[in-house]
Symmetry: C2
Subunit: 188 residues, 2 copies
DNA sequence: TACGATCTACCTATCAGTAGGTAGTTTTTT
DNA sequence: AAAAAACTACCTACTGATAGGTAGATCGTA
């Protein structure tokens, strides 16, 4: 039996990923969870606090996974890259899902102040992870590329985030798959 | 003296680009234009119809410019590419602006049905233009690349759209500039 | 005088959030 | 061990503000 706070966070995350933050409400979440609106507010006293909690949990779940793969000496840079790719593909294959922070990026100015730094930190840490993978892979001899790791990671992170959003608008899954193919080929 | 409908469209576009569609209202637009809410509704009888009109105009303004550059035999593929890059840089340099359709892509499921195909068509025609530029440039000998033009255009269009969104979240203008640098170098 | 643009006044639905309370569990005190 | 106090999770009923949208009067111009 999963607790109510977790159910609220799961539901809120799903709704933000599909509809955006501005378009969700306590009522919508309450209906989906099967409780009353004030009960949602009992767990998260404001919409902003719920928003912050959703991003914080999302960020942390990525951070845990990246820490574990970086700590494992068995894993190659290719392994790390493919591992990083996998949630993007999973989102793209779920109809209508994009990265939480990709969805939020479209409406930052309508977001409460407290959420801004959460989104910013998300973007920055993901680009750092990619940069690290590229640097390590080149040092190993696994990857070959001419660009600097920061430029490459910015480009590829932008492409992955963009591809998810475009895929959802066009319905064409190859948007993401082709981006991942191109990235792989550019590193060989 | 610019007419009221145009003022409403300008204001609505600006607000959607900065805050998203869900976060805008007739009242907000009316205040900004300096008229009353029912006067806005007189020109655009529903929020959906206003949304559609904003995207349609935005799409058309790009289409006109792309047609003119493709019709000009003086223009090289590099010219066309730099020309295509320019509005992205202009948006990025305006604090808090992203591509209209990039902003909308984050909240498609909260958008009225009529807007979906407008967003989809936007994405598809932009990728076709890029594909065409790449194909022509390679035939000319201006560009060198191994990938197929559709894959390359998907990747670079994704990267440009993503970069704008990420730039706005992080405040780092190099997000877009670096993406454009990487694209240029990969074509030589 | 006819018409489009604008206005005031209003509608219903929904928004985030509050007030106050009930039932059941846990913790503290006697 | 029993009673009292506090806490947790949820509820009904409400508030003031704002959402999209309507009805109908007035104004300015061709």
């Amino acid at each position: 039996m999963i607790n109510t706070s977790t159910k609220i966070l799961d539901t809120a995350q799903e709704l933000i990923q599909t509809r955006g933050y501005s378009a969700i409400s306590f009522q919508l979440i309450a209906d989906q969870v099967g409780i009353r609106k004030p009960s949602v507010i009992h767990h998260f006293p404001s919409k902003a606090s719920l928003g912050v909690a959703v991003i914080a949990r999302y960020r942390e779940s990525f951070a845990i996974q990246m820490r574990s793969i970086k700590a494992d000496p068995e894993k190659t840079a290719w392994d790390a890259l493919e591992f990083y790719f996998s949630p993007y593909l999973a989102f793209a294959e779920t109809p209508n899902k994009v990265c939480l922070c990709g969805a939020l990026a479209g409406e930052v100015l309508a977001l409460p102040e407290e959420m801004h730094s959460e989104v910013k930190d998300f973007m920055e840490s993901h680009q750092k992870w990619l940069e690290d993978i590229f640097r390590t892979g080149r040092k190993n001899g696994e990857f070959q590329f001419d660009e600097t790791p920061p430029r490459l990671s910015k480009t590829f992170f932008s492409a992955l985030q963009g591809a998810l959003l475009i895929k959802r608008s066009t319905g064409d899954l190859s948007q993401l798959k082709d981006v991942q193919k191109v990235i792989r080929r550019l590193l060989r």
